[in-house]
Symmetry: C2
């Protein structure tokens, strides 16, 4: 991809152009609104106020925009798995740490993670993203298994199911979280950890 700056078709002096990051941000917004498969390069160009050829200065096409967006979300999530909170100490604490960090990442990278979680596997790019998601899920499942082994998690629920439910709860926030309306990342992370590990019941806190 080129690093050449993109100028808007309207070309008004003083009006900022797009760098790759801001171009990607608009593309991801449109993908989330209309679905990736339902978004044409014409629609993208129209929303960006750019000609298609201006977009092609930056990326080879829609697929590359999708791959950049999905990797942004995946790289952030995988980075969290290598932090000391996820790799040191009792496994139950690593699991809580990763759940909490995932909430923060989902909120910080909301449009990118939203796109990632809606990927269906319709292309090689999407299938690579699904494979990396499975790798992340396997990391979480391993944390659950080790926490059971250490006696800190209920052994009667299948670890893979626990991993799915816990991160299902985390991931559900893409469906209802809206910036600047209601709870912040900390409040949501606290609530998820509290509900998932200690239960909603009044007496179990």
């Amino acid at each position: 991809m080129s690093t050449r700056p993109v100028t808007r078709r309207t070309g008004k002096p003083g009006r900022p152009g797009y760098d790759l990051d801001s171009l990607l941000a608009v593309a991801v917004k449109v993908f989330n609104e209309k679905g990736y498969d339902g978004t044409s390069m014409d629609v993208l160009a129209d929303r960006l106020g750019l000609s298609k050829s201006s977009i092609y200065h930056h990326v080879s096409g829609k697929q590359e925009l999708l791959e950049l967006a999905l990797n942004r979300a995946l790289n952030a999530l995988f980075a969290a798995t290598t932090e000391s909170g996820s790799t040191e100490g009792p496994y139950i604490d690593r699991l809580k740490y990763l759940a909490r960090r995932s909430v923060e990442i989902l909120i910080a990278e909301l449009p990118y993670v939203t796109l990632l979680l809606r990927v269906r596997g319709n292309s090689a790019v999407e299938r690579r993203a699904l494979a990396r998601r499975r790798e992340f899920d396997a990391f979480v499942t391993d944390l659950v298994e080790q926490a059971v082994r250490e006696g800190d998690l209920d052994p009667d629920i299948d670890p893979a199911l626990v991993a799915r439910l816990l991160f299902g709860t985390v991931n559900s926030l893409i469906e209802w979280y809206r910036p600047r309306a209601g709870a912040d990342a900390d409040t949501i992370a606290d609530a998820i950890v509290r509900m998932s590990f200690h239960g909603l019941g009044h007496t179990s806190a």
Copy 2:
């Protein structure tokens, strides 16, 4: 919509045609694979092995197929809110009942609920569905508030957030549940109720 039977374009004797239900089932499968906005009537006709005019015997178009599918999911969920398990007894039990019934409905009506949960509000049909989802969420939030009032739920978490997290966990199963692979509806419902109300911790069961 007409109740006239649809015959396949291939028209081989003995080969079954589509009634509205089976036509809808195929359409919903395609919507889920390609996204509703990314699915044209031509694609639908091709997948059904029907001419477009054969589809138009049954429905006025893509929008009507979407509305029928979304209402099928919504009607099942709303029916559960009127069952005695959701309307009688301590509110904590009503909430557990509705969570459990929702798991059963999601699994029984998986493609329809999947479509419902991916609706973005791009048309009047989608906005009506979103309004009914908000009505369902309000019903759940009321159960949570009453359960807090009865002293059975942790009062320190915002009831609307509890409702979202609990049903976020339930709804997450559309992302990973596959029929005939792994846990059945009962096992999943048990795990969700156990995790959400009692916590995953070993000692809190």
